[in-house]
């Protein structure tokens, strides 16, 4: 038995999916969070059902790769029933897809989601009337709170086993415009607007989207976010790092660091310390805060506010979703470029997305620059980063002139995030670090201990020396930079070991830390991102993007070195 979730963007398919399958699909209060399908087995009164979450689409004949995925999936997999998730507050839009689905020869159940929101808006929806008119079951649902899920699945199971009833042919229209009008009539029949909404959304938008207050609010919100991440991280980093350093020197003096075993043991401790003391303290509050901003629905508002400004700076308007996702991780950011129609736009958006400092690079910025130079310098690195991205965007749009019309983005209603979802989402991403990245950090540290012991690291350092020399960095930074391509956190974790110090200020000047960080922020994306780039754009573009990032990183590093020469000492 296989059920497929189909619906428009941001109607809550992934929320429903996660409610029954555990947190497996990324969710967010904006369009285009899901770009590929996710499958999971769920148990329904003793039966095992394969549930699949498909990307949101307004039509079955969508033009971008994420939308095309939907029709491809229904045609290539045995789908026993379609659960058509519809946002009850946007019924007119949702019914267009429902009408289109009627011509697909599969059992259909309509899940009328966000019923709580609809009643808050004063909308009364005549479900039974819709059921009679469409000839398919219509079930009420509040996916975010888990209401109506069991009934929905039992009904779907029942429908899947029954024969498909003959469709009312007057509903199966081929013409898009006719379908649009039909959906409008249908919605007019079954939705009645009660008390006109007293919308706090409009009032909040009056402030948050205001030409002056909106930008002020944006700066304040981001500043608070930044301060919280920094405050929390610093609170944890210093004492935990001190503990690990004590252990490391104790163990070192006990075993002796001049043997291979001693080097490896210290390397192991350094690798563990890197994960616990340097990365996690910043990663957890950052991902937690990002989840809240995502679920509230603030991110599309940033896009709305910034689009005009970004166009002026030469940045592609539609690249904003990948851009914002990039701050969490570049991999979903590159994947989300599938919501763009033109390949050209996807190349530009991917290139800019990989320049966005992800959570891994955040740990370098915070662990090095914020920790030693102060949070204002970290903020400066972020602002400088945006400036460089804008400049790159401007150059790229000149080189690859675009003819796309620009931003079309649904502005979702504000939603109060549920703690459960925010915690689950944060854990979903933190777990990814613990399972995939942390072992790599430890292995990297062990490998470095090995290289140091046999003095092999000098060869790698020599290979990278042209770059490190140009940037005025010690030769020992070569190995951490190379290993940083595996995982960006490695650049920081291995740096301690490579320089042979516990306190960076003993080996690096403030300017060197700044230059190193800026270079790490821009140069070659990590292995996971590279493979995402290859999947989305192909080998050649992947190599071209990587080469470009090295050029950008080098120029940015040299610029900072030159500038810092006058400002810092």
């Amino acid at each position: 038995m296989r059920f497929a979730l189909i619906g428009q963007p941001n109607c809550g398919k992934s929320t429903l999916f996660n409610q029954v399958a555990g947190y497996k699909a990324e969710t967010g209060n904006f369009s285009g969070t899901t770009v590929t399908f996710t499958e999971s087995k769920v148990r329904l009164s003793g039966k095992v059902i394969e549930l699949v979450d498909l990307p949101g689409t307004f039509t079955l004949h969508g033009t971008n790769p994420a939308e095309a995925e939907v029709l491809k999936y229904i045609n290539s997999h045995a789908v026993d029933a379609i659960i058509n998730v519809v946002d009850a507050t946007h019924l007119t839009q949702g019914l267009e897809l429902t009408l289109e689905l009627l011509s697909v020869d599969r059992p259909i159940v309509v899940a009328m989601n966000m019923m709580d929101e609809a009643s808050r808006l004063g909308l009364t929806i005549d479900g039974p009337a819709l059921m009679t008119r469409l000839g398919v079951p219509v079930m009420p649902l509040v996916a975010s709170r888990g209401h109506g899920i069991k009934a929905l699945f039992l009904k779907t199971d029942q429908t899947a086993q029954a024969a498909i009833p003959t469709r009312d042919l007057s509903l199966c229209v081929e013409n898009d415009l006719q379908r649009h009008q039909l959906a409008g009539e249908l919605a007019g029949m079954i939705v009645s607007q009660g008390r006109r909404r007293v919308s706090w959304r409009d009032r909040l938008d009056d402030i948050l989207l205001h030409p002056v207050w909106g930008f002020l609010a944006l700066v304040v919100i981001l500043f608070i976010f930044f301060q919280l991440v920094y405050g929390f991280g610093k609170l944890i980093e210093a004492p935990v790092l001190a503990i690990f350093n004590a252990i490391s020197s104790q163990v070192g003096s006990y075993i002796g660091t001049d043997t291979l075993f001693g080097e490896l043991t210290v390397g192991l401790i350094q690798g563990m310390a890197g994960g616990i003391a340097i990365v996690l303290p910043y990663l957890i509050p950052f991902l937690f805060g990002l989840s809240i901003l995502e679920d509230v629905g603030y991110l599309p508002r940033i896009a709305f506010l910034m689009d005009g400004l970004m166009h002026r700076l030469g940045l592609h308007g539609k690249a904003i979703v990948p851009f914002i996702l990039g701050y969490g991780c570049n991999v979903p950011a590159v994947m989300s470029t599938r919501i763009l129609e033109e390949r050209k736009d996807r190349i530009i958006a991917s290139t800019l997305a990989v320049l966005v400092p992800c959570a891994a690079r955040l740990s370098v910025v915070f662990g090095l620059v914020a920790f030693y130079l102060g949070p204002a310098w970290a903020l400066a690195v972020y602002l400088f980063n945006i400036f460089v991205i804008a400049l790159t965007g401007r150059i790229l749009t000149k080189l690859l002139p675009e003819d796309t019309p620009g931003l079309i983005l649904e502005m979702p209603a504000y939603r109060i995030p549920t703690l459960k979802n925010v915690v689950n989402k944060t854990w979903f991403r933190v777990r990814e670090f613990i399972v995939e990245a942390w072992p790599l950090l430890i292995i990297g540290s062990l490998l470095l201990a090995f290289l140091l012991y046999y003095q092999l690291s000098v060869y790698i350092d020599a290979l990278v020396r042209p770059f490190t020399w140009l940037l005025g960095l010690p030769a020992e930074t070569g190995v951490p930079l190379i290993f940083g391509i595996l995982r960006k956190e490695l650049s920081l974790v291995m740096l301690r070991q490579a320089l042979g110090v516990n306190d960076f200020s003993q080996a690096l000047t403030n300017l060197q830390m700044l230059v190193f960080t800026v270079f790490v922020v821009f140069y070659v994306p990590c292995l996971a991102t590279l493979s995402a780039l290859r999947r989305e754009l192909g080998w050649r573009s992947m190599l071209a993007v990587s080469a470009l990032t090295v050029v950008i990183a080098l120029s940015a590093g040299l610029f900072v070195r030159g500038l810092g020469f006058f400002v810092l000492r």
């Binding site: 938008d205 030409p211 930008f215 599309p300 709305f304 166009h311 002026r312 620009g406």
Partner: protein, 96 residues
């Protein structure tokens, strides 16, 4: 001369047709047509926007940014590029 000129102007004024980008905040409009070929049309149709639809201009973003349009209970931000291709008829008086 005068006759020719007025002939050109009068139909425009009668229907009150203008570009969406020129419509003030808070005005109720009816979408009459899309300029600029099928590409624009398909893109807007995908979001459920068709000629004949009633809409309201909720607000304009700063720095010539997007226009926020409320259409069938949904709010959609449209960048200047695409909004300038949408021709609308402004209602004589605002609906409540």
């Amino acid at each position: 001369m005068f006759k020719v000129a007025s002939k050109e102007i009068i139909p425009m004024m009668k229907h009150g047709i203008s570009r969406l980008t020129d419509v003030e905040k808070g005005k109720q409009v009816k979408i009459t047509s899309f300029e600029g070929g099928n590409g624009i049309m398909t893109k807007l149709n995908r979001f459920g926007i068709y000629p004949g639809d009633l809409a309201r201009v909720v607000r304009h973003a700063p720095f010539q940014g997007p226009i926020l349009l409320e259409i069938r209970g949904m709010e959609i931000a449209l960048g200047m590029g695409i909004a300038s291709h949408i021709m609308v008829e402004v209602a004589a008086c605002d609906l409540p």
